[in-house]
């Protein structure tokens, strides 16, 4: 694909075929939303490095490919999926293969009445009132190229609804598994997680694939934390190193809600994450933590925005990056403290370790403060592994690789210690170790 009009034309041309694949579902109310999105999409242009928000991220490697929106049902054995589960932890499991819900690989544990954990396609078909109320309300897409594309081609994804006062103690592990074949495909999961008043839930979004092949994941996740709700969200991005991963997460927080997000990312040739959290009322807390580990010529880009629209809210953001080879990282952390948002506490930090001379990080904290009684801070550090510490470890008989692994783990650990599930932390520690000792 040579230029930007091509990719647009390409997707617009695929829409008819896509519509056919929806069968009866195209008569649903939501289909009108898809059509509107497609019409918006036709007016937008592909982001380029001339756009401030995409200044350091060149999408041309992505634009070289034709990705088919038509995916066929693939059979995947449960043994394959088992490799990606967390040991010794009971959890509900939702598996999506190439973006389509796979009930035979999924299992739900102890689901109280009224709770929905399942496929968005199913709930769209049934016109679930919560889907109707919230879907597309937060990930507004008038001028966002990839979000609009996702909305136009929304077919399936995870839908979780926790009604008022229900506490789901067992984590929900959602796996998006891409099985690549001869055709390059695009999958566009659309997720909606709604936690009602006083409810509590832990959700793990996990992106994986079968082989190191080329494909494109364009995901959108909307999260609503209603009054007093506690939502812990973990996203593991372990896609193929040749794939492209573009994702947007929109979080809406109502009064006294508590939301935490941990992003651990080491896959994809290009990975772009837009995280936006909004405090819609007072007394809430938001944690955004991230850890990205990349090498070769991988690019990782996180654009986050925490909107302190109301007073008395706290946000803590901490992103860490470990970059090898010729990889490139981008961190843009925006914190908006609006005029009414007095007594805001907002803390942001970004630390990066560059393991090679060719690795690059672009980090930009962006604080916009319009209230006068607030506590806000930000900081960024870029460094190398401490040679003194490495020699100290070696002088105790610890070899090069283990010394590296120990020091990298020590660097990374504080952004994952706040994950409450020990087996998830163990899984992550293994990922960290594997990244650097092969």
């Amino acid at each position: 694909m040579e230029n930007i009009t091509d990719i647009k034309k390409y997707f617009i041309n695929q829409f008819d075929e896509f519509e056919k694949s929806l069968n009866g579902e195209k008569t649903s109310e939501f289909h009108q939303v898809r059509k509107e999105a497609l019409s918006n999409f036709s007016k937008l242009s592909v982001p380029t490095q001339k756009d401030e928000e995409w200044k350091h991220t060149n999408l041309s490697p992505l634009l070289k490919h034709n990705f088919s929106t038509l995916v066929h049902k693939e059979n995947v054995s449960s043994e394959v999926i088992t490799n990606f589960l967390f040991d010794k932890t009971e959890h509900s499991l939702l598996v999506f293969v190439n973006g389509i819900f796979s009930p035979e690989l999924s299992r739900l544990i102890e689901i109280p009445k009224g709770v929905v954990i399942g496929s968005l396609a199913e709930s769209l078909k049934n016109n679930h009132p919560i889907v109707k109320k919230y879907l597309g309300k937060y990930a507004k897409d008038e001028n966002l190229f990839f979000t609009t594309l996702n909305t136009a081609f929304t077919k399936d994804g995870a839908f979780v609804y926790i009604p008022e006062s229900k506490v789901i103690e067992i984590p929900i592990h959602i796996i998006f598994y891409t099985k690549t074949g001869s055709e390059k495909i695009i999958t566009q999961p659309r997720n909606l997680f709604v936690a009602g008043r006083n409810s509590q839930v832990t959700i793990i979004e996990h992106y994986i694939s079968d082989e190191e092949n080329i494909y494109f994941t364009n995901a959108v996740t909307e999260i609503v934390a209603d009054q007093n709700a506690i939502v812990d969200h973990i996203k593991l991005q372990e896609e193929s190193k040749k794939s492209f991963h573009i994702a947007r997460m929109e979080v809406d927080q109502e009064r006294s809600s508590n939301f935490s997000s941990h992003l651990i990312s080491h896959g994809a040739e290009i990975s772009r994450n837009d995280f936006n959290a909004r405090f819609n009322d007072e007394g809430s807390e938001c944690i955004l933590n991230g850890l990205f580990m990349i090498g070769d010529e991988q690019l990782f880009d996180a654009h986050t925005m925490i909107d302190h629209a109301k007073p008395l809210c706290n946000s803590h953001e901490h992103y860490k990056g470990i970059l090898q080879d010729k990889s490139k990282g981008v961190f843009n952390g925006k914190v908006m403290v609006r005029r009414d948002a007095q007594k805001t506490n907002a803390f942001q930090e970004n630390n990066t370790i560059l393991l090679s001379d060719d690795a690059v990080i672009n980090t930009k904290p962006q604080l916009e403060i319009f209230a006068d009684d607030v506590k806000c801070s930000h900081g960024a550090t870029i460094g190398k592994l401490n040679d003194e510490a490495k020699f100290y470890l070696k002088s105790r008989g610890i070899g090069e690789k283990s010394a590296m692994a120990i020091l990298i783990n020590a660097f990374a650990i504080d952004v994952i210690t706040s994950i409450k599930i020990p087996s998830v932390r163990n899984y992550l520690e293994n990922i960290i170790a594997k990244q650097f000792i092969g």
């Binding site: 105790r396 120990i406 783990n409």
Partner: protein, 254 residues
């Protein structure tokens, strides 16, 4: 012979610091290396441990019949050399236990032994922490992070106790210690001393040698050992100061 240093020359950042050291250390011996500031004492300790900034330009070091200069720092440690650092490094996020477990098992693996399981390892830690009167809480804390000067030095001796080296090199282990901490550290070193290992104590002051009695004392000055003797040499230095050596040396040169 456990260690044999022959005509060792070394530079750091282009400056020649060691200018022909000769030293032999046998099992069961304690050697003290003394000397004024800047004489090359710590450089010698660092060269033995394999610190990369130090470039050996001439000479040989043989350890257990192996050419030490051909071994990387971790293999030197695995062969049985232990350096107690003058300034132990703080490593946030790495617990003492984790460091030692990895070290013990990599050393065992190198020597063709099976790894210790968690129970045996914890037993070992408990036993050795008593030796240097180290509170158990230090085991789970990050290596040296926020430790006082005395705690850091004690932690070095604790690590030495766990790793059980053939040759321990204590680099200014007495610096920054009050008398109580000094006694505890010295006591630990003495308890670890056997017929089957050796110790090199690098120090500026005689004070430590009241507690760790050396078999041999060597005086290092301007990168060379200018005088060797028994423990009485240390006392003589204490009494007369290093100026005596300096002028004596001047005479030799003259």
């Amino acid at each position: 012979m456990l260690l044999e240093i022959k005509n060792l020359h070394a530079k750091v950042e282009g400056n020649e610091i060691l200018k022909g050291i000769n030293l032999k250390v046998d099992l069961g011996e304690v050697h003290a290396i003394m000397g004024p500031n800047g004489s090359g004492k710590s450089t010698l300790a660092s060269v033995l441990a394999g610190k990369e900034e130090y470039e050996v330009t001439e000479g040989e070091i043989w350890f257990k019949g192996k050419n030490l200069l051909e071994l990387n720092p971790e293999d030197r440690a695995r062969e049985g050399i232990f350096l107690a650092f003058q300034y132990p490094v703080e490593i946030p996020g790495v617990s003492n236990t984790n460091l030692l477990k990895t070290a013990v098992n990599e050393i065992r693996k190198y020597n063709g032994e099976e790894e210790l399981d968690s129970i045996d390892f914890l037993k070992l830690l408990k036993e050795k922490s008593k030796l240097v009167e180290l509170d158990q809480k230090f085991l789970s804390r990050s290596v040296n992070e926020g430790f006082s000067g005395g705690e850091k030095k004690r932690n070095e001796i604790f690590q030495m106790a766990v790793l059980n080296p053939k040759l321990a090199v204590l680099d200014e282990t007495d610096s920054g210690l009050d008398i109580d901490a000094l006694k505890i550290v010295a006591n630990g070193v003495n308890k670890l001393k056997t017929k089957d290992n050796a110790t090199i104590v690098v120090t500026h002051y005689q004070r430590l040698l009241d507690y760790i009695i050396p078999d041999f004392v060597h005086v290092l000055y301007k990168g060379k050992i200018v005088k060797s003797g028994g423990k009485e040499l240390a006392l003589e230095l204490e009494e007369k100061g290093y100026d005596w050596i300096k002028s004596d040396k001047a005479e030799i040169v003259a």
